[in-house]
């Protein structure tokens, strides 16, 4: 029996039920009184990026970022600005000097996290980032961005433990590859930074006059950093020495040394140059040391034959690897 007004009264019953239920039923009173109570965000929640370092006592040295600038290139709104740290001679260190993220531009898309080959940049879930200023206060610089691996494990346990396991596996694989290599003669593929702590020695059968040997010895001591630096021994270093100081020339000598350039453009600029230059142009130009060298060093190593693995250029990925293969086949090696 439907009289006019029945639907209206049914509606009022629903409202009354919600009113009464709001006192007893948790589902019918959904207010979370911020800031006294906060909603527990799920693990995957993402707000803004941060950089991970591994050792609390030395954050700057143990940060995973090597300033390869892949995230800067891939960021859709272009909110990241990176400047690689170089020492007084201009040699690139494997870390950023300046790493700015403008969080008023960042759209939290997580693409920088996905493309980073070193698991260096991850997403935070801290959303309380209000500032009182509108411009400079919303740019986060390197000290603000560095957070420890413990923090990462705390906020994202599952993801962080996966990353830790992967990094450990990678390190073990590299160590295994380095171990048989270290047993080969000095002309073997270059040992990776982690294992190379030996001082450089000039082998006895090297064709140098005593004066040259003396000069070389002094040069090696002053030109390479102290123990712990990535100083490949033997012929690889000789190949490196063929280029000025530790493999880095003023950038003007290598016009293709720009990570923003496409590979075709780089190869155009390196046309009709020696093989080592072509090989270098095929790489990603980020000097990120993912391969264990800087870009010049890797190219020289491949050209000299001391490095056989063509897939080490992580930023360059398959494109660089295929190009390197093609160049090596074309050169008949």
């Amino acid at each position: 029996m439907g009289f006019i007004g029945k639907g209206l009264l049914e509606g009022m019953v629903v409202t009354a039920r919600n009113f009464v239920g709001s006192y007893f039923d948790k589902e019918r009173m959904v207010t979370v009184q911020y800031p006294e109570e906060r909603v527990q965000v799920p693990e995957n929640s993402r707000t803004f990026p941060f950089l991970v370092f591994d050792d609390d006592k030395n954050p700057v040295d143990t940060m995973r970022c090597v300033a390869c600038k892949i995230c800067e290139v891939e960021c859709p709104p272009q909110c990241i600005y990176i400047v690689m740290d170089r020492d007084e001679k201009g040699k690139p260190q494997q870390r950023p000097k300046v790493f700015d993220i403008d969080i008023s531009v960042c759209m939290q898309c997580q693409i920088c996290v996905e493309v980073c080959p070193f698991d260096a940049i991850k997403m935070d879930n801290d959303y309380e980032k209000s500032q009182y200023g509108r411009f400079n206060e919303l740019v986060e610089h390197l000290p603000d961005l560095l957070k420890s691996n413990e923090y990462y494990n705390k906020i994202k346990p599952r993801e962080a433990s996966g990353v830790d396991a992967k990094l450990k596996a990678d390190k073990e694989k590299k160590a295994k590859k380095a171990a048989p290599a270290a047993s080969k003669p000095a002309a073997a593929p270059a040992p990776k930074p982690a294992s190379a702590t030996a001082r450089i020695t000039i082998p006895d059968d090297a064709p140098f006059t005593p004066e040259q040997r003396e000069w070389l010895g002094k040069f090696l001591v002053t030109a390479t950093p102290a123990a712990g630096a990535a100083a490949p021994a033997g012929e690889a270093s000789a190949a490196q020495l063929a280029a000025p100081a530790t493999g880095e020339a003023p950038a003007g000598n290598w016009p293709w040394h720009d990570p923003g350039m496409g590979i075709q453009q780089r190869l155009e600029l390196a046309k009709n140059k020696p093989l080592a230059d072509l090989l270098m142009a095929a790489m990603a130009q980020t000097d990120c040391h993912a391969c264990g060298y800087d870009c010049r060093g890797y190219a020289d190593a491949i050209a000299a034959g001391s490095e056989a693995d063509l897939s080490l250029c992580l930023p360059g990925e398959a494109e660089t690897e295929n190009m390197l293969k093609k160049l090596m086949e074309g050169a008949g090696k």
């Binding site: 209206l8 509606g11 009022m12 919600n18 009113f19 709001s22 019918r28 009173m29 959904v30 207010t31």
Partner: protein
């Protein structure tokens, strides 16, 4: 104390008898208004599965004071091309009738500020005067939306006056007097002072429904809040008002709705009558308690309806008033006539009830211009 009152000259007594009710009304009813706004916000919040305001003072008790202070200290903006004098006068004029309405509402046994013997007539005359304020507000703002709101307000208030007054006429006929005190007194007696309330008579129930609908439309409450329909014309006639003038409009509207609720209670729900109300100080206090309790129930009903139903459209509103409510009010008057002249009570009950029910069904059929009904749907193959 009593001897001082007995021996004082007449002029002093006159002033005292004028001052006391005025002070009472001016202090109590705006206080009720303030806390009605708070109760409304919290009740609407709970209906909508959220807490209402609870930051200012425990449970939000100080929220109305905070709102009042905020509105007082806000900048008073008058549009440049607005008619400044009328713009200023409109909110003032909106409050005056609402306050004056309380002069004829009996809040307890014998407790009415002015015992006019044309009380109900006075109440309706005064409440209609508030529509002038709405129109002045809309017109003076020189804003198309405000004008639309003002026109709708006038149309709505004027057309809902008629069924409201006619349903009140039914009560007046039953009582035989226009005085609110007499109407309240006529509902006393009976079992527990309850069974003689007019709402328990068939014509009284119909009258109660009609009067409540009319009262909601008079004070522009949902579902009849077209003059201030936020989603269509932003805020209607009070769009261009800010600060304390806006507060005065709200005060006028809420006070009108509380006062109309008071008159509804007086006419249909037995006024101050209830178990234990009677002459004497103690009985008088109990009668005040019953009055305020019933007033609170009416206000809660208003808030509940506001939280549930959407708003009607203007032409549907007018259609509803003129095509359904007005004929029903006239039918109701005839029903009261039947009730009065058929002296055998059970027969009177049956006849009046049948009369009203049959006419209700006929009128709803006639008034339904659009066939509105839930539909069934088919599925694509």
């Amino acid at each position: 104390m009593r001897s001082w009152f007995a021996n004082a000259p007449d002029s002093i007594l006159l002033w005292v008898s004028i001052a006391v009710p005025i002070l009472f009304i001016v202090s109590v009813f705006p206080g009720i208004f303030a806390y009605t706004t708070l109760v409304e916000r919290k009740a609407l919040g709970r209906i909508q599965n959220r807490l209402g305001p609870n930051r200012v003072g425990r449970w939000g008790i100080l929220q109305p004071i905070a709102d009042g202070l905020k509105l007082l200290t806000k900048e008073d903006i008058v549009p440049r091309r607005a008619d400044a004098f009328v713009h200023f006068l409109a909110p003032v004029l909106a409050v005056i009738p609402s306050v004056l309405l309380f002069a004829v509402v009996p809040i307890g046994l014998g407790l009415v500020p002015v015992d006019l013997n044309i009380g109900i007539l006075f109440a309706f005359a005064i409440s209609t005067a508030s529509v002038l304020a709405l129109f002045m507000g809309g017109w003076a703002s020189r804003n198309k939306f405000s004008l639309l709101g003002a026109m709708r307000a006038v149309a709505q208030v004027v057309s809902y006056e008629v069924p409201m007054v006619l349903s009140a006429v039914a009560v007046v006929m039953a009582v035989g007097s226009l005085s609110t005190l007499a109407i309240a007194k006529a509902q006393s007696g009976g079992f527990l002072n309850v069974t003689r309330w007019f709402v328990f008579r068939p014509w009284g129930l119909v009258g109660f429904v009609l009067f409540t609908i009319g009262a909601m439309a008079e004070s522009a409450r949902t579902p009849f809040d077209i003059p201030e329909a936020e989603s269509e014309i932003i805020a209607g006639y009070h769009t261009e008002y800010s600060g304390f003038k806006f507060a005065l409009f709200q005060l006028g509207e809420y006070l009108a709705s509380i006062a109309m609720a008071g008159i509804t209670v007086t006419m249909f729900l037995g006024g101050y009558n209830g178990p234990g109300s009677g002459p004497g100080i103690f009985g008088g206090l109990i009668s005040m308690f019953w009055f305020f309790l019933k007033l609170a129930c009416m206000i809660v009903l208003n808030i509940w309806i506001r939280g549930t139903w959407p708003r009607v459209r203007v032409d549907q509103l007018m259609g509803f008033a003129w095509k359904l409510l007005l004929p029903m009010a006239i039918v109701n008057i005839i029903g009261v006539g039947f009730w009065h002249y058929i002296t055998i009570r059970p027969l009177a009950w049956v006849v009046t009830t049948l009369w009203l029910v049959i006419w209700f069904m006929v009128l709803t059929k006639l008034a339904a211009t659009e066939n509105v009904a839930p539909r069934t749907y088919r599925y694509a193959s």
